[in-house]
């Protein structure tokens, strides 16, 4: 079974500073996709960034970047120049592509990290 673990229930960062959220995952499959989702108090799920397992280059989206360490099964999210609007729950998630080429397609989520941004 595939699992995603977020070991930091809560994190705090000063506005304009940088913060890193941790995520580890476990799967026996070699082909998978990793995601970070943001969930603000409105509960709307927003895709922040996506990483394909077969790509070695770390994904970046503006102030958001990942550190993907495939051998260690680690997928951390770095938020640079933190803004008040970044305060939210952040969920790490995975979609696994099975060996036969198919995919169950459903997201497997970690338990989330609550990020607070101090002005």
């Amino acid at each position: 079974a595939q699992t995603v673990t977020q070991s930091q229930p809560e994190m705090s960062v000063q506005e304009a500073e940088t913060v890193t959220l941790s995520c580890t995952y476990d799967t026996s499959e070699s082909d998978y996709y990793l995601f970070w989702y943001k969930q603000p108090p409105s509960r709307q799920m927003i895709l922040v960034i996506r990483q394909e397992a077969y790509k070695q280059q770390n994904a970046t989206e503006n102030r958001f970047s990942v550190n993907f360490q495939k051998a260690a099964k680690s997928f951390s999210l770095k938020i640079s120049d933190s803004q008040l609007g970044d305060a939210a729950m952040y969920f790490c998630a995975c979609i696994v592509q099975m060996n036969y080429g198919g995919s169950q397609g459903n997201l497997i989520f970690g338990k989330g990290t609550k990020l607070s941004v101090k002005p």
Binding site: F35, R43, E52, I95, S103, F109, K111
Partner: protein, 115 residues
């Protein structure tokens, strides 16, 4: 439409009553997923559809939960005889395919409160 729509926003049911939630996926998306987010924020996958066919129902508590996606109708998730533990936010998501390259677009969720 370009957004996943879910109705109602909030639903309150007494224990033992039936609850029915609706989801309209983005037009052109073949796959619909239902997730349950309990009050501790943990997500649980319930069921997925490929058009009107059940694709994966491994997460469904089969005794009381059922779901459908019929042509030209919103998808639905129905809970018979609700229990207190069913209190959660239920999210629907849709995507063009099962591949991770295709984003799953989430609806705003339906908050179910069982009293």
């Amino acid at each position: 439409g370009e957004e996943v729509a879910q109705t109602p926003k909030h639903l309150v049911r007494g224990e033992g009553q039936k609850a029915k939630l609706y989801c309209a996926p983005i037009k052109g998306h073949s796959y619909v997923f239902w997730y349950q987010q309990v009050l501790k924020n943990e997500f649980k996958f319930l069921i997925s559809f490929q058009n009107e066919n059940v694709f994966d129902e491994t997460g469904m508590p089969k005794e009381r939960f059922s779901a459908k996606c019929l042509p030209n109708s919103p998808c639905s998730l129905e809970i018979q005889a609700t229990k207190l533990e069913d209190s959660a936010v239920y999210f629907c998501a849709s995507s063009q395919s099962l591949q991770g390259l295709n984003e799953q677009y989430f609806g705003p969720g339906t908050r179910l409160t069982v009293t």
